[in-house]
């Protein structure tokens, strides 16, 4: 297992380098930051000098090499948009995104699994039919619309929840949290629902179909024949066997939720990494874009590593196989 983890880590590093390489080959198409960085009075010579100073005139492989050299030393430069250190910006924005992503992952997993089990057990009831229909809405409705819809109902009409921002946050070291204040918690409700809704429906539909599959297998039939209670069969035998694909999906979804909360963050003016990235793209803020993409790639690498390791915990067969493998 240790060798396996090490191999994954080396592969992960390769992925990071590849992502940076592709990113730098594409930055040319995002545009030229210089025209955003100077006012309309700037002369042609001013622009040229700035581009030269920032090394923007160099061929992109050279820019890539310089970026990798600096990144290896943990140096990501200064944002062209804000004139602040990129590492500071990412560190500042990370808590907002992580809190949002983790809460919506918990929300979608807990409710997704529960509703999925319910819909699998009561296959034909009115309630589960309603749940299934609503889940179709969740899969097909764009996140943007869900967010705006929630804002109009709960912020404009009912005035119960704030329409934007994180509310008051409390600093714990460099981490800022909205979980400890009332306005912070209120601010989390709508973004979490919006971001988690798609994941929820996905997990629910997956659990339901896997459950239905498992209920048809031989071991469930034998368990019934042995007179084990239906509840115990459902929860201990069927559900456990549905978990492997669910963990895979939920894990990878957590990665994409952290990485691509962009739409939700934009709708709710959530000060996380997603909105940082959107602003960076519009400004052609190369240092921020590069660092953000590296960050996202690392998240995916780590999440898939953790998911792989979780298989060992959930599925006893994998454990025994690796033990057998050692014995040989």
């Amino acid at each position: 297992m240790f060798a396996y983890a090490l191999r994954s880590l080396v592969l992960g590093l390769l992925v990071l380098v590849a992502v940076a390489f592709i990113a730098f080959s594409m930055f040319r198409f995002v545009g030229d930051p210089v025209s955003n960085m100077v006012g309309q009075e700037a002369t042609l010579q001013d622009r040229e000098e700035l581009a030269e100073r920032l090394g923007l005139n160099d061929p992109w492989p050279l820019q890539f090499a310089r970026f990798m050299g600096n990144a290896a030393r943990g140096e990501f430069g200064v944002s062209y948009r804000q004139g602040r250190k990129v590492s500071d910006l990412i560190q500042e924005r990370l808590p907002a995104t992580v809190e949002l992503a983790v809460l919506s992952a918990i929300f979608s997993t807990v409710f997704g699994v529960m509703l999925g089990i319910y819909a699998a057990i009561h296959r034909t009831g009115f309630v589960s039919n309603t749940i299934m229909t609503l889940s179709l809405v969740g899969v097909s409705l764009p996140t943007f619309l869900i967010g705006i819809g929630l804002i109009y109902v709960f912020a404009v009409e009912l005035r119960m929840l704030p329409s934007f921002g994180r509310g008051d946050v409390i600093k714990i070291g460099w981490w800022s949290t909205g979980l400890l204040t009332e306005s912070g918690l209120k601010s989390l409700v709508m973004p979490v629902l919006t971001l988690g809704f798609f994941q929820l429906t996905l997990i629910m539909r997956l659990v339901r179909s896997e459950m239905l599959e498992a209920m048809r297998t031989d071991y469930v039939r034998f368990a019934r024949a042995r007179g084990i209670s239906e509840r115990s069969i459902q929860m201990r035998h069927a559900l456990r066997n549905t978990l492997v694909p669910v963990v895979t999906i939920a894990g990878l979804q957590l990665g994409s939720v952290i990485a691509f909360a962009i739409v939700t963050e934009t709708v709710f003016q959530w000060p996380g990494l997603g909105s940082l990235f959107v602003n960076a793209v519009q400004f052609a803020d190369v240092p921020v874009m590069a660092a953000y993409l590296m960050f996202v790639a690392s998240v995916f690498v780590i999440v898939s590593l953790v998911v792989d390791l979780l298989y060992f915990v959930i599925d006893p067969r994998l454990r025994s196989q690796s033990r057998l493998g050692k014995a040989h």
Partner: protein
């Protein structure tokens, strides 16, 4: 008895508060983008200068209508014996937020800082040779040659404290090549009506009233606290106003204006902005890259340009694309700029038949094809305007291939030398409120520091001479006559096809009334709360 005295004290306290009018009045302000930096010389960009103007001040300031008036300077003059020296008398008794007094040293320091290579305001001060202190309350600016218009740049150069900048190692304007953040990017010490309390970029900036403000008796200064929040998504920004979480929204999306006007709790003010939208044509190239005409440039023929100008139905663009929120124009200059006349602004009559005839006369009876470059995230409805003109030009046989893309890609096409576009959309504001600014950047031959935004290749040497003479002509009447002459030539030459002046819309709660500021830099020290 005890209860009575308590009640009495309470009444007394309330009475005192009401009498002195010191209720805490917080104003929550939102617009689509955040300021980029607090460094007063770091970025010459709309939201940045708007926010910085609440903390810092310049020698002069412009009111909502664009009229120049005194600020940190109480008076100024050109020295009678030397027309190349401007002298400013500073306002006595002004203090920075840290309590230190404003002196001539701070002004000299700030101008020198703004003239450094990394400053984004050096373009305003290219004519300046030297800035010197005469005494504690007097500063002289010497220009390389007489510069009658220098005064128009003084409202843009914000004054910071020399001692503060030296103490915090921020004597140079922010530099993107640095590895560390410049102290002035997130800290500020100005003389303005509001003091910075906290700043989280892209999240929230809090300012409180400067109770020691020099202009306390002259301006209302009723706002005690400003909470400034950028809200990027249009729908969310409007929702935040409707839900009462925001008091004042600066960038109201065009599609929401009608709805907000009907809302009883909302006040909507709209008015012209200092920005004209127009199309530029590559008239200078021998042959166009994107057209299907070989060996010659159709835009070089004035009749083609006339035809295209006539084919644009500005009234339709105003009505359909802009939903009434624009002012069609016949010249690339908003009305409050020196040199504007009604005749220049006359919108050409849309006449497709006459335009077709001009095309035929020019040798293009069947038209030609050409690529139009357009931004899609810079001006109000920019892409939709381009789509509209594509249809209008098709009527006279010009097949336009529309390419609309992000501002970061669009503007470099125009600003490269030579420009990499044959036909493009552009917008221009005139911060100096004088025609010379338009001539210098958009019409002068592109050479040296002149004509930097002229992507048309237009070059008229005789006109260039006249444009340059404006920089040194000190006789106002003579100067204005030259401006009129230049515009006459330009109106006839049609290098640019003017579309409209953009209008601005501000939405706010009913208890405040913030007029639309032509430079789009609203001044919250002027806000009064109605009861």
């Amino acid at each position: 008895m005890k209860t009575f005295s308590k009640a009495f004290l309470a009444v007394l306290a309330v009475g005192t508060i009401l009498a002195s009018g010191v209720q805490a009045q917080t104003l929550k302000w939102a617009r689509s983008g955040d300021s980029l930096t607090l460094d007063p010389h770091g970025q010459n960009e709309g939201p940045t200068t708007t926010l910085n103007n609440h903390i810092y001040e310049a020698l002069t300031e412009r009111d909502a209508a664009g009229k120049l008036g005194p600020a940190l300077a109480v008076s100024w003059r050109v020295l009678p014996n030397d027309p190349s020296v401007w002298e400013f008398k500073l306002r006595p008794g002004v203090k920075f937020h840290d309590g230190t007094p404003l002196t001539a040293d701070d002004v000299v320091f700030s101008y020198q800082r703004a003239m450094q290579p990394t400053s984004d305001f050096k373009g305003y001060l290219t004519s300046v040779a030297d800035v010197t202190k005469v005494d504690d309350n007097t500063v002289q600016i010497k220009t390389k040659s007489p510069d009658p218009l220098l005064i128009n740049a003084t409202n843009s150069i914000l004054i910071m404290s020399k001692a503060w900048a030296e103490k915090n190692n921020t004597t140079k304007a922010q530099d993107f090549k640095n590895k560390e953040e410049n102290f002035a990017v997130r800290n500020a010490n100005g003389t303005g009506p509001f003091v910075l309390v906290s700043r989280e970029p892209d999240v929230k900036t809090v300012m409180k009233r400067n109770d020691a403000y020099w202009g306390k008796g002259e301006v209302p200064l009723q706002v005690t606290e400003i909470i400034y929040t950028p809200i990027k998504a249009d729908a969310t920004r409007v929702a935040a106003l409707l839900s009462g979480e925001i008091d004042f929204v600066q960038d109201v999306p065009v599609q929401d204006i009608a709805k907000l006007k009907e809302d009883q709790k909302i006040r909507l003010n709209s008015g012209p902005e200092n920005r004209t939208i127009f199309f530029g044509m590559n008239v200078g190239a021998a042959d166009l890259k994107s057209d299907n005409v070989d060996g010659k440039n159709p835009f070089a023929d004035k009749r083609v340009r006339q035809a295209m100008n006539m084919a644009v139905n500005r009234a339709a663009i105003q009505r359909v694309v802009m939903r009434g929120e624009s002012i069609p124009t016949g010249v690339i200059m908003p009305p409050f700029v020196n040199g504007w006349t009604k005749e220049l602004d006359a919108v050409p009559v849309g006449d497709v038949a006459a335009a077709k005839k001009l095309m035929a006369d020019a040798g293009y009876p069947n038209g030609f094809s050409v690529t139009l470059h357009c931004p899609n995230d810079r001006y109000v409805n920019d892409e939709a305007i381009c789509q509209a003109v594509v249809g209008m030009w098709a009527q006279i046989g010009i097949k336009v291939n529309l390419v609309s893309q992000s501002k970061s890609i669009h503007f470099p096409l125009v600003l490269k030398q030579p420009a990499e576009t044959d036909l493009y959309m552009y917008g221009w504001g005139v911060p100096t409120f004088d025609s010379n600014y338009i001539f210098t950047f958009l019409y002068h031959t592109r050479e040296g520091s002149l004509g930097s935004s002229n992507g048309t290749g237009y070059s008229n040497k005789e006109l260039d001479k006249k444009i340059q003479s404006l920089n040194i002509e000190t006789d106002t009447a003579k100067r204005n006559a030259t401006i009129a002459e230049i515009w006459k030539v330009l109106k006839d030459d049609i290098v640019y096809i003017p579309i409209h002046n953009q209008t601005l819309a501000y939405a706010m709660k009913k208890n405040i009334d913030i007029p639309v500021d032509v430079s789009n830099t609203p001044k919250l020290k002027m806000v009064k709360f109605a009861n």
